[in-house]
Amino acid sequence: MPPGALSDERDVREAYAAHAGELYGFAVRSLGDAGLAEEAVQETFLRAWRAGERFDPEIGSLRTWLFAILRNVVIDLGRARAVRPRPAERGVEPAVEPIDEALLGWQIEEAMRRIGEQHRQVLVETYYKGRPYAEVAADLGVPEGTVKSRVYYGLRALRVALEEIGYDG
């Protein structure tokens, strides 16, 4: 895409079709509220459109640029929300996590959605649920060594998926 990538309606439509789902997913995750997330995505595209001239594909992908904008929007919305009194009946305050940890966490989750079921399964069972390899192997009816090698290839697949979505180490 040339500089000024979002300068007309068709560009905005294309960028929206390609990236809105992920942007929204991250916005929901970090703001914990679907309505605020919609606001954040709308504001992100509006800011991107205003600054369209400054987008330079030589520096990074459109996706990375949009995420950088969304990150700032989420920070702004988070601040606005922090000063707004919250009704007590809303219950427990959502845990506030630093935005960059949220972004990394979201990237891992998105990568997990992209890798194969077998790989995801062994990572969830052995790492997130902390189950012994032998037990998981028995459940799956495979040798324990196979579970270990799936953990290895699962991490490799995760690495590839992370690179795909713009994680640069």
């Binding site: 300068s7 007309d8 309606e9 905005v12 439509r13 929206y16 079709a17 809105a20 789902g21 992920e22 929204y24 997913g25 929901v28 995750r29 679907a34 997330a37 919609e38 995505v41 709308q42 595209f45 509006l46 459109w49 205003r50 940890e101 949220a102 990394l104 966490g105 979201w106 990237q107 891992i108 989750e109 998105e110 997990m112 959605r113 995801r120 990572l123 969830v124 052995t126 790492y127 997130y128 649920k129 390899y133 060594g145 270990k148 090698s149 953990v151 290895y152 290839y153 699962g154 991490l155 490799r156 995760l158 690495r159 992370l162 180490g169």
Partner: protein, 222 residues
């Protein structure tokens, strides 16, 4: 070190990076890592990912929420509305600049300039007339200003909220219902310009002004 020999060790690297390799298997792997730079590099890379894993919530692995279908339209509408607002602002600035230019000139020069601009009218500004179009479709907007001249009527028109490239025809209608064309233009989404058209019909004889936008025609009394 042969690749085949490394493979056996490598397949333990995931469990090792996640700190889940049984003690009994660790010693052998660590000895191999001492002597194999490639496996060490692979371990470093996997360990970088393993460090991020606690940040993820496994309950979110299944399906990501998707945005409501209407959000895309709202995004485009918000952009369109801001684009219109900034166009109006820049048109306002243009008029303002002209006003400043006039006030900056000497009184005599300004009077001469004014007479020149008005085509021999009085010392007053031309009685521009803003036209309001009612019952337009949602999101569509027509701003129109009529300016009387000795040669006819100047029509400045600004349309938004329609498909880029739409053909727009503008006309005046006299008291007897006869149309007098003021010409046509194409609406362009990304150009902040208004069209300036002219009809030979004198504004004082005009009863209505109309604009055909694509297949729809809108008229307003003058």
């Amino acid at each position: 070190m042969t690749a085949e020999r490394c493979r056996e060790w490598r397949e333990l690297l995931g469990a090792y990076a996640l700190d889940r390799l049984p003690v009994g298997e660790r010693a052998g792997l660590e000895a191999h890592l001492e002597g194999c730079a490639e496996c060490r590099a692979e371990l470093d890379s996997l360990a970088g990912i393993a460090r991020l894993m606690p940040l993820a919530d496994p309950e979110r692995f299944e399906a990501a929420p998707s945005p409501p279908a209407a959000l895309g339209d709202r995004v485009l509408a918000a952009i369109e509305s801001e684009r219109r607002a900034s166009q109006r602002e820049s048109r306002g600035r243009r008029r303002w600049r002209l006003g400043l230019a006039l006030s900056g000139a000497t009184a005599v020069a300004a009077a001469v300039l004014a007479i020149f601009l008005l085509g021999g009218g009085g010392g007053e500004g031309p009685p521009e007339r803003e036209v309001a179009f009612h019952s337009l479709p949602p999101r569509m907007e027509i701003d129109m200003t009529l300016v009387p001249h000795s040669f006819g009527t100047e029509i400045r028109v600004y349309v938004s909220g329609v498909r880029s490239g739409t053909l727009c025809r503008v006309f005046l209608r006299d008291g007897a219902g006869r149309r007098s064309s003021a010409g046509s233009f194409r609406y362009r989404w990304d150009e902040g310009s208004e069209a300036v058209l002219t009809s030979a019909l004198d504004l004082s004889n005009a009863a209505a002004v109309g604009i055909q936008v694509g297949k729809r025609t809108f008229e307003a009394g003058v």
